[in-house]
Symmetry: C2
Subunit: 503 residues, 2 copies
């Protein structure tokens, strides 16, 4: 392979579906994740960083997952000499929950129980790349493993609300909506699609259709959902989506459930209780939601921040109890200029069966995953990015032999905590140096030629001001260059600091 490729040059390309992150993109994501991590830490959660690579076996590539039936992983067969067993298959993790389940099983004797952990890092999906769809992206998860108490679910919801405020989403601009799979199961029981006493599950497929129909309420409206619950529906393209074949009364029950949200959590819970009155599981679910609402209210998290909302389904099949979703309620304009709500940025819930895959024993767990790219986009839309992405002060090079003096200026500025550097490209044309400073979004350029050096002064060019003048001013004003001032060399640090507004 080496020999027949040596002749031509390799292509300098990011692989299809992958991307690189530069400067501010990295800093802004890091600032956001650091802020979230600080909240998680304060809540007693510990960081966990698992290896990016898992055995395909541990990863559970074959977990049923209705939302991503064709989701692939990047996998390869282990070299035989390195493998612990012949032909182990390895793969890149596709989320942070599967590795957590593996860790919880592998270290179950050593970890504290409950085990509260957070994890932040890239995950990989071997999917056909599309516009805005990448095959590597960040996830940010927090989970409590080993607590069956709804207090653990409530805590996750409160922590999520705190995290959103910490990164810069003001109160009133978000709401955490909480539902419970048990209530949903109660509805299924009431409409005859679920029987906890039966072995085998003849209704799994129809239940799936109901779940997906509920999840589409926002998009299809009540009428569309009604068709999907009944005989099925032709979508815009003419394709036929099979329905759940429910009778009229059952359809009414599902729609009543979806419409159960009232002005107060107490009223919503009353309404839900009426709907699932014939299902012990459903009533247990309502009672859990009641406990969650009470715990949260006692800590000051009222329905302006965290609300019981029966329309929350969450796609993943593995949830077994409370489910939650954080929605941003402010408006943005979509591609076509129409106003719409920003929408969901985080979701999660209780999943008591994931560790069981490994150990055979059910381990209660609950957690949340923040959509890192979605939340970053929201902060961008709100102008709430926290990272300082200003470029460095650039010390220009007027006389190549005086490099040591220029370096000393940069050193002095850095010692004062100011980001600074000497231009290290070819200093022949001064214009190139200023173009470079522009590209770096440099706020100030420092200039010292032989004349200035002899007089013990330096010139400071306020590039930020310069840019504003260039955008707004006439040619005459531009020529007068008010953005350039001469200061004593000894005052370099103080004067730069003044220009930066950090005096």
């Amino acid at each position: 392979m080496a020999s027949d490729k040596q002749a031509r040059r390799p292509r300098a390309e990011t692989p299809k579906g992958f991307r690189d992150y530069f400067g501010a993109e990295v800093s802004e994501r890091k600032a956001m994740l650091d802020a979230i991590a600080a909240v998680y830490h304060r809540y007693g959660f510990d960081p966990l960083e698992t290896s990016a690579v898992e055995t395909v076996e541990a990863l559970g590539k074959f977990l049923p997952d209705v939302e991503r039936p064709n989701a692939g992983v990047f996998a390869w067969r282990e070299d035989e000499e390195a493998a612990s067993r012949d032909g182990d298959w390895l793969a890149l993790r596709y989320d942070l929950t599967a590795p957590l389940a593996r860790v919880a099983a592998q270290y179950r004797g050593d970890l504290p129980s409950p085990y509260r952990r957070y994890a932040m890092g890239p995950v990989w999906r071997n999917e056909k790349p599309g516009p805005g769809r990448f095959r590597q992206f960040y996830q940010c998860d927090a989970d409590t493993v080993g607590s069956g108490s709804v207090a653990a679910d409530a805590e996750i919801c409160a922590m999520l609300a705190d995290a959103l405020e910490e990164v810069g989403i003001p109160r009133g601009d978000y709401v955490v909506r909480v539902n419970n799979r048990k209530v949903l199961n109660g509805v299924m029981e009431v409409i005859g699609l679920w029987d906890p006493a039966t072995t085998g599950d003849p209704f799994a497929e129809r239940r799936g259709i109901v779940m997906r129909a509920i999840d589409k309420l926002d998009r299809l409206g009540e009428d569309g959902v009604r068709y999907l619950l009944g005989d099925g529906r032709h979508d815009e393209s003419g394709d036929f989506a099979r329905g759940a074949s429910l009778g009229l009364a059952e359809i009414q029950t599902v729609l009543a459930f979806l419409d159960a949200r009232r002005d107060t959590n107490a009223a919503t819970l009353d309404r839900l209780r009426t709907i699932v009155i014939a299902s012990p599981t459903g009533l247990e679910g309502v009672s859990e939601l009641e406990s969650i609402a009470r715990l949260l209210a006692a800590q000051g998290y009222g329905p302006d921040r965290i609300v019981i909302d029966p329309s929350v389904v969450r796609g993943l099949g593995y949830y077994t109890g409370p489910v939650f979703e954080a929605e941003l309620t402010f408006e943005i304009t979509d591609d076509k200029g129409r106003p719409r709500q920003f929408g969901s940025v985080a979701g999660g819930g209780r999943y008591d069966d994931l560790v069981k895959r490994f150990t055979g024993q059910s381990v209660p767990a609950t957690g949340v995953s923040i959509g890192v790219d979605r939340l970053l986009a929201a902060l961008q839309a709100k102008g709430r990015m926290q990272a300082d992405t200003r470029g460095p002060v650039v010390v220009t090079v007027m006389d190549r032999d005086r490099m040591a003096d220029y370096q000393m200026m940069a050193t002095e500025l850095r010692r004062a905590g100011i980001r600074a550097e000497v231009y290290l490209g070819n200093p022949k044309t001064f214009g190139n140096q200023l173009k470079y400073a522009d590209k770096r979004k440099s706020p100030v350029a420092v200039i010292e030629g032989a004349d200035e050096a002899a007089r013990g002064v330096v010139l400071l060019k306020d590039l930020a001001l310069g840019a504003r003048i260039a955008a707004a001013a006439s040619h005459e004003e531009w020529k007068s260059q008010p953005a350039q001032t001469e200061v004593a060399r000894a005052d370099l640090v103080a004067e730069v600091r003044r220009l930066l507004g950090t005096a």
Copy 2:
């Protein structure tokens, strides 16, 4: 595959050669990398995060690399439907330099030039795992692409010194040693193993033997190196290592070069100049080192921090100019209890040909890579870890029905910035709760039973003090439990803060 595996449970195992990082391990590495990033930022370097996955073609799997001739990557063939071209091979990056070269070529029209960037993240090596040798580990690099000036090399050395001090290595405990490949090439020219005017390179192999011999000076001593430069040498196991077949005069020249370090940089440079006087390339190298030493001295980086040292070789074949290495000079005891210097924690140099692979044009570049695990081990050895790895204050649960009150205590503590949580396991046995608090390294446990609640007080158990007493005290002293105090409920936050020593 799914069907015949369904019967048995998956193994909960980290893949061979990979590991997971828990709590303090994650926080301590992050604190160190954050401190380093702050220094790099101050020097004007921008973060870059490339995708973990590269095309094998771009990665340059087949780059010659004398140090890792068998180094493998984790690679797989792209699915055809997702691939941009049939059968692209993808791989996990094995370092952060190859992706930088790809980025510098791919975005050469858009990036500022010079482009200063830093990168921190995992890399992967498909090597046979061994004790302490992992197949995923962190690297931390800073590079300047597009500057041929030795000022760029000097800047990297100064920045490296600053970074080491910032993370907690005191001045005097480290030294950055600087050499130049051109001086080494000059020595090769003088001893007849390199001729810049000849096409083809008949001496490459013997040069490689000389380089490796020089690199082994520390381990083999001058005599061992002398054999390797001459006819070869039997090592302890009896294996024969072929020598470079140099004559006596040539061997003396190489040894004189290795012994050229003097008390001052000026004296070392004079000595080097004498040795390579017959080689224009060698003299150019000495002159570059002189510029670097002068620039650094002018900024206050004297030979106590950065020193010219001819014995620095750096293994990688791609260096073309100045090379540097940061060594920690304090002593630790090795596995056998013998004192030895801690040794190298970072290295780098100038490599002007890496981008050329893609573009055909030489792009000057220089950079440094910090050995993240090595430096962390050094900080550990010096007790200089910066992360706060204390566990949370644990609010115990004495009465399950009063969960909301316990949550409120945790909420109050968190609002005061104190890490706190409510015990969320089964509260039946109180002993389990204290064991849990122990495992979490919790400094304080909060206890409020019905009696305390009625009297408006809480008990604070100083677990840090308790642990010290348990280790040292008699049974009688232990029973008196001085580590437990009763405080008013209203003073919870203030009293906990006092115990934590953050009042």
